[in-house]
Symmetry: C2
Subunit: 395 residues, 2 copies
DNA sequence: GATCTGACCGCAAGCGCTCTCAGTCAGATC
DNA sequence: GATCTGACTGAGAGCGCTTGCGGTCAGATC
């Protein structure tokens, strides 16, 4: 004898008799059971309740819910009416377990504490909710060992696809994801990631454009404040800085490159170090706008005028960059676009698991504002065009 | 004859024979099946696989996973070894469906596009991942009708508890949540929400303190730029502004209160309107730092010096507030603390559904910086203490 | 030695849904 | 009128897990 569907069980040990009563009677809005202390607990209607009210089987309800084509119009309407009258809402976990869509995509990142993250998540959010999906946000807080666990848990019955903002290096689990054909997209990953779908910004050309801009203004001693070394973009930006110097025949001086962490306090400190050099730089290029704000603060404290005594360039183009005085010259990174593109790509993968691998590089743009000017002592006109290096690049 | 556990079914129609082969054999790392095109697909081990390897029943594995006490130590170790060797990861949806914990909390907000949100989510993230939970982020993008749907879906088998950043008013679904005893906490909800757990900041005392500060500096015509009118905090801040004026016997002038939206562009516009008044204000209090940046920009453009010609106060104390020049006097709102407190409260509710309702109000602090000074023409010393109004308040 | 006790563990129902397979039945075809 | 077709629907197994209930068995008790 095959399995029979039995009476549902309540979570908190209600007597079966009460259950029967609650379950019976078509047309009731929801199963209701009184708890011991007189409160009322409402059990959400299931697909079976809807089926009963509509006078069809649960399979038919499921088909209606999922937009299956072969359903008679009258039946569909009856079911929909029943769903509305009962206030039916699909149980996501059950659906996911039974092999349907969970409608959730995961976003894995180190943390939520930067303008970079905020921009990306805005784009992701927009695109995800536009597609009627939900977003699961997971932060690893730099605990590398948590990443693999997260990925395993998420990819195992929790989300349909994964967006991953990775630090440098390609951990094992990425290979695992690839092997298991789980749909995922890497964001801002500059390393070589064979077979992976990646979305990132043209960091290197952007940084080169910024450096070019300073060079064209006559700057020869240009300080550079890096980001955290575990991020791929940090190295790409440093690469762009170097590219431009090399192209201009300006030697790369070690003392002018200072390690930073994308944040303001370190930008401030780094600038104090740079300004303490015997032959201080006349321009400073920071790897983030936040760090550039630190540069501005340190300059102010040192009594230097920007841009007359010191030119400053940032990276990101956060909204505040144009609010400060002088407004910050910076490299615009299309953060929201990156988020959006990543989601779009993920949706494509969801629709077609065999879609060919893509590597999307979004253009960066040099935004010239008031914080950069001719180098002190530099004479005449700028010695070349500026701001022309931006655009999609090889990363 | 009772139900027998049958062979597992693969999602994509693999032949049963392959399944049998894949399922059998204790000690294999995972069930593996080749797809048509030669790729390999790895099925994650289930609790049954672990049970088989450990030589126990699936119930025992479940008990070990969930830290059930009555398990012999040797058994526990055997099971744990099996889990490790198989790389077992619990299936969250299945667990949630079966009545266990999903380990996910939901955060419902209008959008992710403000410093307010970023601060709150940082706190939430920190506390959530500290507790070993996951975060599900849902944004309604101001589509009110989506909220109820979200809440229904989330509270129905998806998350264990809900954090809700609500605009003004108390929608029906909140009452529904309360009725169904689903654990949830409202964040930054200033309206009366009977029976709801709420975490918010002392907006009103904070705004009063900021206004007091300007009054003490001799300002009498103080402009006020509001936030979006659908937020409770907007009205609380306006209330605090009014409180302080009334207490100082300064008349509230309609033309000095301009509607804003918490964002920079509108802050800029609003300031231009204020500065165009015949008798322009000598101080402007904006309902957010972003809006205050707009005030600074408009002042700069109008050739006004800050604070000599115009004093400016913001609200929030975002990091940038102290980076700009002059640094912004503002009301610090403990955004991260709000996020953290909300999660803490939710965890308490999760642990004890009958915990008494709490309304947590976190203190705001006036941060006096360079953007405020004595009113032009005001003589002598400040006419009263400043900055003394901050602290926990009634909201 | 019989009974009791309690720690430990297994059985199997059930969570709410999806999806395959097997009908059913009205209309078309021969 | 018998057969076929295809649109539509129902039955029910199964997803991976939790958990109540009951069984087992070694040691304690009488």
């Amino acid at each position: 004898m095959p399995c029979k569907r039995l009476q549902p069980r309540f979570r908190s040990g209600y007597p079966p008799a009460m259950m029967d009563r609650a379950r019976s009677g078509a047309g009731d809005r929801a199963r209701v059971a009184a708890t011991g202390d007189g409160r009322i607990r409402v059990a959400r209607p299931t697909i079976f309740d809807v089926a009963r009210v509509a006078g069809v089987s649960s399979s038919t309800v499921s088909r209606v819910v999922n937009g299956h084509p072969q359903i008679r119009d009258t039946t569909r309407q009856r079911v929909q009416a029943a769903m509305v009258s009962l206030g039916y809402v699909a149980h996501v976990s059950a659906r996911a377990l039974a092999g349907g869509r969970s409608g959730v995509v995961g976003l894995l990142a180190q943390g939520v504490d930067s303008a970079f993250f905020l921009g990306v998540i805005q784009g992701v959010d927009q695109q995800v909710s536009g597609a009627g999906l939900d977003l699961m946000l997971c932060t690893t807080h730099d605990r590398r060992e948590k990443e693999a666990e997260y990925v395993a848990r998420l990819s195992h019955g929790m989300v349909e696809g994964l967006l991953i903002i990775l630090p440098r290096g390609l951990p094992d689990y990425v290979e695992q994801l690839r092997a298991s054909q789980f749909p995922f997209v890497l964001i801002d990953h500059d390393d070589d990631a064979p077979g992976c779908n990646v979305v990132n910004a043209a960091d290197r050309p952007g940084a080169a454009a910024a450096t070019d801009h300073l060079l064209a203004l006559g700057h020869r001693r240009i300080g550079f404040i890096t980001g955290t070394l575990n991020m791929g973009s940090t190295h790409q930006r440093l690469g762009g800085y170097r590219d431009a110097l090399v192209a201009a025949g300006v030697p790369l001086v070690g003392e002018l490159v200072v390690q930073g962490d994308f944040l303001e306090p370190r930008g401030y400190e780094a600038t104090r170090e740079l300004l303490a050099l015997t032959d201080r730089p006349t321009g400073i290029f920071a790897s983030s706008d936040a760090a550039a704000f630190g540069v501005l603060r340190a300059a102010r404290e040192a009594g230097l005028r920007v841009p007359e005594d010191l030119s400053v360039v940032g990276f990101d183009d956060v909204p505040e960059a144009s609010y400060v005085d002088p407004a910050l010259t910076t490299v615009r990174q299309p953060l929201r676009d990156m988020g959006r593109s990543a989601v779009r790509r993920l949706l494509e993968l969801l629709a077609d698991p065999d879609a060919p691998v893509e590597r999307i590089v979004l253009a960066t743009t040099l935004m010239v504002r008031g914080s950069t000017g001719r180098a002190p002592g530099a004479d005449g006109e700028p010695d070349g065009p500026t701001g022309g290096r931006d655009g999609p690049g090889s990363g």
